[in-house]
């Protein structure tokens, strides 16, 4: 291989450190062999192996060699750079070196963990080490640049997670923008009557937080709004928020309901979203009495005035404060924030997807969310659980794992169904004294006071049948089944197939990613896992971070969670955001592109290619100019530069070409 650049570096002195990672690597890769091999590579002055390079003594090996002047640049062959690159760079820097005179060879994730054949694994490890050495020889000392962080925070989603995050950040003195798609905040929790296992009133604990949000001086609450665009990067995001017209002036409306009463539709006749269609509303409505903000909203799809323009619109006259304004237009708000917390939540599984359970086919089969509303004192039935004929059910079946733990629908466990099924069993029994049959696969009750709650239900003589329900029908085989819903399931404890006639069925539907989760993740430039939940940076060590710096996750958008976990995670996400903000500045990876001015021909090929408009044309010098602060280091412009006059720090053509030579011609 050719001589590296002596002028700026002197003759390179490469230290190669091979990690055993306990036996994770050493079990498949012949470490001794790789050490022998590395010692023969050009410019290598030191080769060592160690059980755990990432441990302090491991790092100390590197630092000592550097201090002794034995090495001026380092290759560590161990795990993925995504895991420990930062660790070793820091170690090198602490020893007085430059953090970027470093390259990692990934011989664990990419070698020892995916290869059985020891010879092949060792051979591959050699190739990767040779490549890293060939490349690090050309590394240049680089400095990280840092940019100030905008202290404001954007929180997307006004469920319990978003609310908690917003209040926490606001209480820490940060300016918070809370954006909610629906006319009110509150999310799913606002729909519940009680929460498990304590059975304390959902509204009683949530609504104070909701009004706190409304009244908090540091919180700007935008409901009936959506994020329309996100630009920029960690510490400096530029966000566009689309505020849909609600045709009622938020400042003027006091939520007196006069306009609603006055509506030309004397009788409510449109399905009420908040009551999941169990009741009707008018075109102008307030979702529920504690809605925040307590402001009426007009549904353009159903309002005669908006649709036809031929309405006497008595609502307008009814409003003493002239809050109703049919000319309201959509508004785009533009804000700058330093951190973003996504708390966009979940949607419940559509039970009709499991046709054999008869949802939507037979009366008196409800989804758990519908029953939540029924049991809610403020709900459509005032808290009464009633059959369609108005009578109280005498027997109710609760079917667990509908749209969960099911290879035909969703594989995952939704984590909350067992507990809320127990809760509903309790509430229904309390209100109807009906016989309750729970059909479950396993009872999953981890969590403080959860198992105890299960015990309590057992004592309340709720029946538990272990087995997945095969079918629900109205097909009677015996007189007592006549006019009943018959639940057929195998009782796996007894080992017999049972037919249970009931009056009402509750399908405990699982949790799913929001329908538009994929669009949202693109908007914020983050990833989704296979199931569609937002992907955290690391499942254990960075559960609320994403691969996009400055964007954090809270609540069920990251995966099924119950309220305590959502709140906990919201707090964690907020803490991460605050840590970022209070640091005051973010360090940017110095892998930016740069122009070789003296040889740039000014062909301008690169300029249109930069997604961040980081490249401009200097009309005086007739050369392209890269704005290092805007450049994110993708390197597209470099690959496209026709005369090789654009390069990328840490990824120069020279470095990559040498890495290639190394990885192919390593012996």
């Amino acid at each position: 291989m050719s001589q590296p650049n002596m002028k700026s570096n002197g003759t390179p002195k490469v230290g190669v450190y091979v990690c055993h990672c306990g036996i994770n690597i050493a079990h498949t890769v012949d470490v001794a062999e790789t050490v022998k091999f590395a010692a023969k590579l050009p410019y290598v002055t030191v080769v060592r192996d160690y059980k755990f390079m990432c441990s302090d003594p491991g790092q100390e090996l590197i630092q000592q060699d550097f201090r002794d002047g034995k090495v001026d640049r380092v290759v560590v062959a161990s795990c993925s750079p995504l895991m420990h690159e930062a660790t070793f760079r820091r170690a090198l820097a602490e020893a007085g070196g430059n953090a970027f005179m470093f390259q990692m060879a990934n011989i664990r994730e990419h070698v020892s963990w995916v290869t059985l054949d020891k010879v092949a694994a060792t051979d591959k490890a050699k190739a990767l080490i040779a490549a890293a050495v060939a490349r690090v020889v050309l590394h240049q000392p680089l400095q990280k640049t840092s940019v100030p962080v905008n202290p404001d925070v954007l929180i997307v989603g006004g469920g319990i997670s978003g609310i908690h995050a917003a209040l926490t950040a606001a209480n820490a003195g940060k300016k918070v923008y809370l954006v909610e798609r629906d006319p009110t905040i509150g999310g799913h929790m606002a729909k519940f009557d009680k929460t498990f296992p304590t059975l304390d009133c959902s509204a009683c604990i949530l609504t104070p937080k909701m009004s706190a949000v409304r009244s908090h001086p540091n919180i700007t609450l935008w409901t009936y709004s959506e994020v329309a665009g996100v630009e920029g990067y960690v510490g400096n995001f530029k966000v566009k928020v689309r505020r849909k017209p609600r045709y009622v002036d938020e400042e003027l409306c006091v939520g007196c309901y006069e306009c609603i009463e006055a509506c030309v539709y004397k009788k409510p006749r449109f399905p009420d979203e908040f009551n999941v269609g169990l009741s009707m509303r008018r075109p102008i409505y307030i979702p529920f009495p504690q809605a925040t903000p307590l402001v009426a909203v007009i549904d353009p799809e159903t309002c005669a005035q908006i649709k036809t323009g031929k309405c006497k619109h008595p609502c307008v006259e009814a409003c003493l404060r002239n809050a109703i304004n049919f000319d309201q237009k959509e508004v785009i708000e533009e804000i700058d924030v330093g951190a973003i917390i996504l708390a966009t939540g979940f949607k419940t599984f559509d039970a009709s997807r499991v046709s054999r359970y008869g949802y939507g086919k037979y009366p008196n089969i409800y989804s758990s969310l519908e029953i939540e509303r029924m049991t809610n004192a403020a709900g459509p039935t005032g808290g009464e659980v009633r059959l369609t004929n108005g009578e109280k059910p005498k027997a109710v079946g609760i079917v667990h794992c509908v749209g969960s733990r099911d290879n035909h629908t969703n594989q995952w466990c939704s984590r909350v169904c067992c507990m809320y099924s127990l809760k509903l069993a309790h509430l229904i029994k309390e209100r109807t004294e009906a016989e309750i049959y729970n059909f479950y696969i396993d009872m999953r009750t981890p969590g403080k006071g959860y198992e105890e709650f299960y015990e309590r239900l057992l004592k309340e003589n709720v029946h538990f049948i272990r087995g997945r329900v095969a079918e629900i029908s109205d097909w009677a085989m015996t007189p007592e089944e006549e006019g009943k819903l018959v639940i057929r399931a195998e009782d796996t404890l007894v080992g017999v197939v049972r037919r249970i006639p009931v009056d009402m069925v509750v399908l405990s539907v699982g949790l799913e990613p929001q329908a538009d989760a994929d669009d949202v993740r693109r908007l914020f430039n983050i990833s989704c896992g296979k199931e569609g939940w937002f992907l955290e940076r690391h499942p254990k060590l960075a559960p609320v971070s994403t691969f996009t710096d400055g964007v954090f996750l809270a609540g069920a958008c990251q995966g099924p969670k119950d309220i305590p976990d959502c709140v906990a995670q919201a707090g964690a996400a907020t803490a991460e955001a605050l840590a970022l903000i209070d640091a005051g500045k973010v360090e940017l990876e110095p892998n930016t592109a740069y122009v070789l001015e003296e040889v740039c021909s000014g062909c301008q090929t690169c300029i249109g290619l930069c997604p961040y408009s980081a490249i401009t044309f200097d009309k005086e010098k007739k050369v392209a100019v890269v704005n290092g602060a805007l450049c994110k280091g993708c390197g597209t412009c470099v690959a496209s530069c026709p005369s090789g006059s654009l390069q990328q720090n840490l990824f120069t053509d020279a470095q990559i070409l040498h890495e290639i030579k190394g990885v192919v011609n390593y012996v």
Partner: protein, 327 residues
Amino acid sequence: MSKPKVAFYWCASCGGCEEAVVDLAEDILGVVSAVDIMFWPVALDFKRHDVEAMPDGSLAVSFINGAVRSSEQHEMVEMLRKKSQAVIAFGSCAHMGGIPGLANMFGRKELLANSYFDVPSVINDQKVLPQTTFDAPEGKLTLPEMWETVKTLDQVIDVDYYLPGCPPPVKIIKEALNAILTGQLPPKGAVLAPDEALCDECPRRDTKPDKIIISKFVRPHQILMDHEKCLLAQGLVCLGPVTRKGCEGSCTKASMPCTGCMGPTSRVVDFGGKALSAIASIVDAKDEREIEAALMEVVDPVGTFYRYSLPTSLLHRRYVQTVKEGE
């Protein structure tokens, strides 16, 4: 002090490089007075054994043009290499293989068959092919054998400098001669031309739009070119951005796109690969079909991006078993 001795020599080339030297016109007299031309087949008398007799390194410089196609050419340039302190690959063919290098897309056997059997004007019922040795009634006649592969000069001998262009622009030749006469040569291996791309000196340069994004590439015969505006911006595949400057845009001045005869800058390792990358990148399409449509009129990627440089391409060509004629 005696004048430096120089030699001009040609391999498989078209003679355009010699013409280019003649195009120095009046200046050629200046050159003749500054150096002793020991060897110039096209213009002056010379003797091979004179060259053979020269002490090694007695020639200051040999200018060699043309690609290398046969062992005989190889012998000759090797001898010149021995006799010369410096060898300069003169012109695109010696530098990068040139247009004859496109022959590397095919086997020699194909070339022969096509020329002596396939073309419509040939009448050759006995399938006669030229033979390397032939017994004429009066005695044995021989023809030299062509190599399977066209090679650049530096693929057969060590080369000190390169003079790019097809042919090298007179200005570049003059500057090179001056550099040699004044002993102001760059480090070995350099191309004796500015290391910037053509756009820098193209007369159309200032007409470039801020962003060059092409919705569909077109071929020169498909549009009426604007005679001022950047040709690439007009959707023509102009390789000016990829190609070394030095010609002052002789082709773009004539409203024809640059085809890259001056070769790449020193920072590019494969002309075709880089050219392709630059051209494809500025296409304004995102899905596969749109992209293919936008690039459809680039009907001949190899001939477009390796017009003069196929023998220097990193791929070079697939390995071919050298075949004897008639086999």
